[in-house]
Subunit: 477 residues, 2 copies
Amino acid sequence: MSLLREASSRLWSIRSSEQVALAKRAAQITAELQQGVTRPYKNVIDCSWGDPHREGLNPLTFVRQVVAACLYPSLLTSEVLPVDVQLRAKGLLGECGGGSVGSYTSTAGIPKIVQSVSEFISQRDGAVPSSPENIFITLGSQRSLMMVLKIFVKNEGTIQTGVLSPVPSYPYFNMALSMQGGVMVPYHLCEEQGWKLKVDELSRALHAARGHCNPMALYVINPGNPTGQVQSRKSIEDVIRFAAEEKLFLLADEVYQDSVHDPKCEFVSYKKVLFEMGPPFSSSVELASFNSISKGYFGECGLRGGYVEFVNLDPTVMGHVYTLFSMDNCAAVLGQIILDIMAHPPQPGDPSYPTFSEEVRAIQDTLASNVQRVQTVLGSLPGISCQPIKGGIFAFPQLHIPPCAIQQAKEAGMEPDVFYASRLLEETGLCVGAGSEHGQSEGTHHIRLCIATPTENMEEVLNRLSTFHLSFRSHFS
Amino acid sequence: MSLLREASSRLWSIRSSEQVALAKRAAQITAELQQGVTRPYKNVIDCSWGDPHREGLNPLTFVRQVVAACLYPSLLTSEVLPVDVQLRAKGLLGECGGGSVGSYTSTAGIPKIVQSVSEFISQRDGAVPSSPENIFITLGSQRSLMMVLKIFVKNEGTIQTGVLSPVPSYPYFNMALSMQGGVMVPYHLCEEQGWKLKVDELSRALHAARGHCNPMALYVINPGNPTGQVQSRKSIEDVIRFAAEEKLFLLADEVYQDSVHDPKCEFVSYKKVLFEMGPPFSSSVELASFNSISKGYFGECGLRGGYVEFVNLDPTVMGHVYTLFSMDNCAAVLGQIILDIMAHPPQPGDPSYPTFSEEVRAIQDTLASNVQRVQTVLGSLPGISCQPIKGGIFAFPQLHIPPCAIQQAKEAGMEPDVFYASRLLEETGLCVGAGSEHGQSEGTHHIRLCIATPTENMEEVLNRLSTFHLSFRSHFS
């Protein structure tokens, strides 16, 4: 018997092992295909991740040129790179210890880049002030979320810290909360109303939780993951009012802020709304807002970078935050550099501007066109309904699974949506996420598809899904 | 009153605020010098970090070329890079999702690189078997240590989990342990015997702790930080025997494994010794061994990368480990790529071999010569004694501080070594680490200097330190 077996047993149950099993099976089928095994499809298409480059979108040239030059400064003396790339790289290297991206940085990040991020936020929010002291660059927004949870999730005492978290949600957040010893207080987004966040549901969830745990915070994802809704200013105001009344810390996951596809919607940050509401809200509601280089048109998941901005935190708490973040030493320097580019992209007149703006527009156009195609194709299929995808990089359609398929899933010990996703993978080589991984209202079933992929790949995904879906329904009807 | 103030107050006391104050003061003086303030020195030299590039050592050309090519594959078609760089980069890109280093990887790392690391370990250990399933690539060894602590440090119940940890030590480890809710059980390295790790001291520490906490693990650092000792095979055997008898999990921090300066010493890994001891040890003692790209001749602190190898963990626990590491999504891809180079550096006959081997030898020679100079110069000063620096990248000399200086430090509310370091900084612009940050035996005082720096910088450090030290002694005698 291992020394550790008992001590760590609490952890294993947190993860949905069914999604892990799907991913493993996808890898296995890929290996078999490579070994020459014959199947009715040539390759596996995995759209279960939110990983734009894996799905075939290209990195931005300016980003990669600047980072490559910072890594290997000999490139600065060659003709290979445009002059604005060289200037940017030289400037950034001057901010690195010993002029090398291989040096540690300050805990919160390279001061110049933290300043850039602060200017970016202020500009985004129509001149709402932003202070570099409140910003920490991190190893990605997932890491930021975990750090912030450590601030207020208590492990002592008999009553657990609760955090209101949406259903459906970003599953890592709930895992992180659970590992930290906290408990998720689920509130349901209203699917029939385009996954709207409703304050009466927040209130129901909060009051149901009180007594069982100590709810201290409210986690919101805007634009939604996996649900694709974009909150209106009015909706954000209502949520802020609720957080103020109930003394909840607001955790605003805004990593899809540059991915809004519906021209009638715009992204408005929680911070902007909070400030524009004025006192007492603007001076009292505690907020952490998260952003990342992994999403939007950057898509640099593998380079790990993000930031968190805190609002209205007590200076003593900010001291604790500093201590907490210092435990990671510092964020990866190249992720920091990409944040600098996100904050200050090439401007008209710069040599790299034409290519940069064209690449960004191409990605935005691809996403917008994928959204249209997904909605058209899914809308035409019987037994599937999909709320409008206004933002983000996912579709999260509801499946109306025939009762005898549900029965067969039960007999196989599987969630019905995992049963569906598993057969979809076996029969067509298409790997999607199962709704049960994200949470869904009792009796409903969903799948999650990443839409950040080239048009032709999206078409192939929709073809495989349509063909399978019709055959599945006919088989089980 | 902030919502969070009370909840997070436990955290703030963990960090030595005195070291933070020294670093802040160094930054302030640097800024003042840049603004034209006149002082008896032109610049601040900060040798309080263990950050080779910041100290002026250069990154390895092959490493930077491969990583730059992976980031910006257009370089692969140019004449700028040697052919072995191009081949390596192409091979590594083929292992990345969508051929981009911007994609997430598997939780444990890119499988091909995990395999490389496993081969490296096996080769290092004279063919002791290593299995890729037991290796996780991480965001650096500090992150690995934190993750591993999560496995067995319990936050529930009334008795805290204890971990035996050396004095002096790597302070982040003790901070991480404390944040996790565990408690450090200090064992003292024997300074008079070259910072030897003695089993009777481990035994004393363990028995003193039992009843107060539940000691579950033993943390060792070999080669030592900040103490520079290199453990003999015999010493490691004794420690393993002790861990087996007392059922302690062994945490072997071996990040300085390629930095052994004394030709009479060699680095032997805990895993190698464990396997060569045979059963019952080789099949029962639980071990985690840590390595990093931040140390040795790579020195790539800012790119964040390391790995941990587990030995003899129960398969159920390994499942929990997988879940824990999946919380970080994956390690930074470029850090992973550098681990691949660490595992399989250029070989004789490769175009990059001459430069690579020359750069590595130059760094090793610089460190060896710095060790000689530090020992010669400090050995000649009254009131300083320094144990032999056999490995690692630090000197940790003991200061014999005059009683009236100790008295004055007390009156200023400072530790005597912080008082010394603070005056050293003010008077000469040299910033060193204070021994109290690392822990030291009652009544002794030390400073920590990084020796991973170019020769001329080391000379300047020693000049400033010698001049100050003599004047300090004469002032307070």
